[in-house]
Amino acid sequence: MTVRVAPGAAGTAASRARAEHAQEQQDRELELLRQHAANWRNGLVGLVGLITGAGLIKGRESIVGIVPGGQVAVGTLLLAAVVAGVAGTLLSLRAAYGFPRSREVDATWRDVRRNQHARARAAARDLRAAVVLAVVTLALLVGAVAVTWYAPRAPLAFVEVTDDDGVVTCGTLQGAGDGAVVLAVHGAERRISVQDVGALRLRSDCPP
């Protein structure tokens, strides 16, 4: 290693203050990074909660009537958002608190210094990844909402008939005449007398 050392310029109060500040920054490097990570962790936990609370619980009602491809897209986007949000939260937790593991005691002072800096570098890397995942999570959530709002609706091709006894029959309309409505239900024809019809409505699909 070709390191050359010579006497430097005379020190001043300003150069001394800068040197002390650099030492303080160095001593607090890991602590400051972990404070940043803890704040990001709080934000990510809130974001994941928003997704699971609003997206997953209400999601099933919101996607009824959307074409099947749109439903799959919404489900996939929400799942990806949860995965990204949880991954980002875990990374921010690791950046904030580290991860318990056994490690050899540093043998030299140089090792102390190097491992201290390595921990700060690892925390910075985790924090950057957590920030990226937070943005990705938000983008996926916005995408899921956009598909819910703007995806084409499935045509209302099914008829649901409720008779006076409350029995519900759902199928595709084959015809109507001779005082009856004819539906195809799972391939079989069902005739329902018009006089027995209590309620009739159109649906985009029939319940299983």
Binding site: M1, R18, A19
Partner: protein, 124 residues
């Protein structure tokens, strides 16, 4: 009659720079290709007790600062090596010996002295 350690006093002296340039051991951590810190060890030119100082060249503080990670500047380092570029830094070393000195303020270490070294590495 022997006298104990000097009392703590913040100060610098150009003669200390010259004395320390002769006696200090200076290393780059992890290596001179992409150093993250300059490590200076050796006797304090004022109190003569052994002291160690780490001058950071790179710190991770927050994401708004431009961060350099090992290996990210491979192309820049290769070009600098090919061009025979040398790098230089003035390091103000603050005594951090473990010997107690009279009148040392709370939380402080060493005798209070500081000295400046001109450290360079790479192609001469």
């Amino acid at each position: 009659m022997s006298h104990g350690p000097e009392p703590y006093a913040v100060g610098n002296d150009p003669r200390w720079n010259e004395r320390a340039a002769q006696s200090a051991t200076v290393d780059l951590d992890p290596d001179e290709d992409d150093p993250m810190a300059i490590i200076v060890t050796g006797p304090c030119p004022r109190c003569t007790h052994e002291s160690a100082h780490v001058e950071p060249l790179l710190l991770y503080s927050n994401l708004q600062d431009r961060l350099r990670s090992p290996g990210s500047d491979v192309l820049r380092l290769a070009l600098e090596k090919a061009a025979g570029v040398s790098r230089r830094r003035e390091v103000e070393v603050i005594c951090a010996c473990g010997t107690p000195h009279p009148s040392t303020p709370q939380g402080a270490r060493g005798c209070g002295a500081s000295w400046v070294l001109d450290v360079s590495w790479g192609a001469p």
